[in-house]
Amino acid sequence: MIPVFESWGMTPEWAWFVSTIAGILLIALPLMLAVAMVIYADRKIWAAMALRRGPNVVGPFGLLQSFADGLKVFLQETIIPSASNKGLFLIAPIVTFTVALMAWAVIPFNSGAVLADINVGLLYILAISSLGVYGVVVSGWASNSKYPFFSAMRAAAQMISYEVSIGFILICVVLWAGSFNMNAIIEAQRGHGLGIVNGFVFNLLLFPMWVMFLISSLAETARAPFDLTEAESELVAGYQTEYSSMSFALFWLGEYANVLLMCALNAILFFGGWLPPLDWAPLYWIPGWIWFFAKILFFFFVFSWVKATVPRYRYDQLLMRLGWKVFLPLSLVFVVLISGWLMATRYDPIGRREVVYGKITLCQHEFDQRLSVDLRLPQCPERETAR
């Protein structure tokens, strides 16, 4: 986008500034619209699975339901409990909402269509998603009320437990792709399965990782079987109990933006992101972002489906058993398995095979030499005395 603005007679600095702002708006505004429509879709899917009609009054097929809700919430009074910690009480929903938007900066929508193409993209996602828990924890504490506080405690424990296994799953993907950059990870999936199917999920070693990632992403976003933070039978409405009007709506929006983000991550890490499902020329005629959005919507359907069908986990089962006793050891074992497999097939510890070094391919000993020269390592002391 920068060359366009430069051709309009801007200096490079201004062109960079304006194009970055434009990029942020281009992601954030459609995302808000998508969140509104996705809330509608969620309610419709849920209703259909329960043999109900769902929202059908506002607009054609009830399409404008979310906007009506938004207007209602906007006109409501913001109630701040007198015993609450006012500053933190108001900051918490803002944190949730902002953090949910921040992670989208590194999501590639098409080949090269990404706001920040940084080479630690996946780590950035992990870092930002670990911030998301603060909105919940701070809101629970600042409300100065019992049920929100229980909810905050649960949220803190839940996020930490599932982030550990998500971290290991991401490491498996990164090991296979050989990069933390989101675009590079997608490119590595081109023709991955039998030379024709795009996506890491068609890999016997990575498929279990995907299943675990899907479940962990449900837990990370506190969606249906794992929505212990807002378990209405135990905690009223969890951390949102004391919130009203826009501060409540910000939680709502942030939550669904996070769900969409996790759907996007499922699509990017295991289903080839903006690549078509098959590595076959006619499929590339459809633009990449359409494939990407189709995959996101598919995963969103899966999320709603799970929400509509699966009962809530019991608290001790969820955290202690599934998180720590099942997912953590299993993902750890798979990190070892996958790195072992890659060492055996792709890399060569002894030095017979060739090693890719930047853009060129070298023998192992040449690679070692280059590396020590490149890193400007000091010579070994023995050699210095010998000289």
Partner: protein, 206 residues
């Protein structure tokens, strides 16, 4: 220009957040200010070009360590009257620490006025390599040159981890609350319920 602005922004915020961490009356506010400080320190790392370290700082300290701090601090039952009650008792200790800090400050300023240490000019060995991300550089060093030290550090941490579990583990098994999930799942209604049709007034034996 923008780097300079960003540096002063992040640096000022780190210092301000650090100051508020120790000035805040409420421990929860302290932890939250600490998180702000961590976050801005990560921003400083990005400016230096160490984006990997920056992300690790956020993931490890903000994402895990500070959440645990917050977890513990939030559950404290803070009684401010009680906090002030120990003031007289701890006053000498506080004075002692203040004197030590003051002495360090005077020494530091004095040493600085006497002329800075001769550190030598950088010879470029610390500069990052062109065309290599710092993940690759750190990986090449950790898994090549410093492999032994790195693995040793890992084993020490593992031992510490196991040690912590062993120290806190109660020797005897808990009397209550032992559940066998596999057995619970394998249980069928036919094993758990009996359908009887007792005579009127007879009742059932349990």
């Amino acid at each position: 220009m923008i780097q300079l602005l960003a540096f002063y922004l992040f640096a000022a915020l780190v210092i301000a957040a650090g100051a508020f961490t120790i000035l805040a009356r409420n421990p929860v506010h302290s932890v939250l200010w600490l998180i702000v400080a961590f976050f801005n320190a990560a921003g400083l790392m990005v400016i230096v070009g160490a984006e990997f370290i920056a992300m690790l700082l956020v993931i490890v300290y903000v994402g895990a360590v500070a959440v645990l701090f917050l977890f513990v601090v939030m559950m404290l039952d803070i009684d401010f009257a009680e906090l002030r009650a120990g003031f007289i008792k701890n006053f000498p200790l506080g004075i002692l620490i203040a004197v030590v800090l003051l002495a360090e400050l005077v020494l530091g300023i004095g040493a600085y006025r006497a002329g800075a240490l001769e550190l030598g000019t950088p010879d470029g060995t610390g500069a990052s390599l062109v065309g290599r991300s710092n993940i690759e550089s750190i990986g090449a060093l950790l898994y090549g040159r410093y492999l032994f030290l790195f693995e040793t550090a890992g084993i020490i941490l593992l031992v510490a981890l196991i040690g912590a579990i062993v120290l806190t583990h109660r020797g005897a098994r808990a009397v209550r609350g032992q559940q066998n999930v596999a057995r619970q799942n394998a249980r069928k209604p036919s094993e758990a319920t009996v359908n009887t049709q007792p005579e009127v007034g007879q009742g059932v034996s349990l």
